[in-house]
């Protein structure tokens, strides 16, 4: 469909465990992004990538790391999950400046 998929769609995990979310695209877009959405905060940028192995931090990057070893995959890892990381995580892709984003379907993560 839109050429971007996120997995898993839902996950419940325990505090202190590592968690990895996957974003996969088939559009060959250079730019990929991870956002989290929380009530009252809108969407906030966690990390982004502008190419294979090229990543940078966003507004709320503490406690998160990312990797991009292939153009099509962008992984978000919560190194040691905390309850404050309970959120909906969206991946987005872009062709570049002026094109806006295409979003994935989101991953609802609950940390208990």
């Amino acid at each position: 469909d839109a050429g971007i998929t996120q997995s898993p769609r839902h996950k419940v995990t325990e505090t202190g465990t590592p968690v990895t979310l996957r974003c996969h695209q088939t559009e060959n877009h250079r730019y990929m992004y991870w956002y989290r959405q929380d009530p009252g905060h809108g969407l906030r940028l966690i990390h982004y990538s502008y190419g294979v192995k090229d990543t940078d931090k966003g507004e709320v990057s503490d406690g998160y790391s990312v990797s991009r070893s292939k153009t099509e995959d962008f992984l978000l890892t919560l190194e040691s999950a905390t309850s404050s990381q309970t959120s909906v995580y969206f991946c987005a892709i872009s062709e570049g400046v002026g094109y806006g984003y295409t979003f994935g379907s989101g991953t609802r993560l609950t940390v208990v």
Binding site: L43, L45, F90, S94, V97, G100, Y101, F103
Partner: protein, 112 residues
């Protein structure tokens, strides 16, 4: 730091009425985007505004951008129930990597 403010954050209106959602931002940018999100769903792109004075229209929605005032508006004409959703504006941070800062969203409820 770029700040994006939307108002109102919640809007309840009757079918057939007109209304405007406002999006103010704090630093210079000439790239602004509007997205729609239905409950429990992902975000879909509505409008891409890339210059001062840009105006885009789709059905009952019209978006405009005034970069001098750092203001975008989303005007709703003769609202219908199907327009009920949350609307986000997002502003390019001018990072060169198409990173966007989102407003908190306006939840629109259109009732008969």
């Amino acid at each position: 730091e770029l700040k994006v403010e939307q108002n109102p954050l919640f809007l309840s209106m009757q079918e057939g009425k007109n209304y405007t959602i406002y999006c103010n931002y704090s630093t210079t940018s000439d790239r602004l985007y509007w997205y729609r999100q239905d409950p429990g769903k992902s975000l879909e792109s509505l409008f891409v505004l890339l210059s001062n004075g840009a105006v885009k229209q789709e059905g009952r929605l019209m978006a405009s951008l005034d970069t001098k005032a750092r203001l975008s508006t989303l005007h709703i004409t003769a609202a219908v129930h199907d327009l009920s959703a949350t609307y986000f504006c997002a502003v390019d941070m001018n990072s060169g990597y198409s990173t966007l800062t989102f407003g908190k969203g306006t939840m629109l409820l259109v009732s008969p």
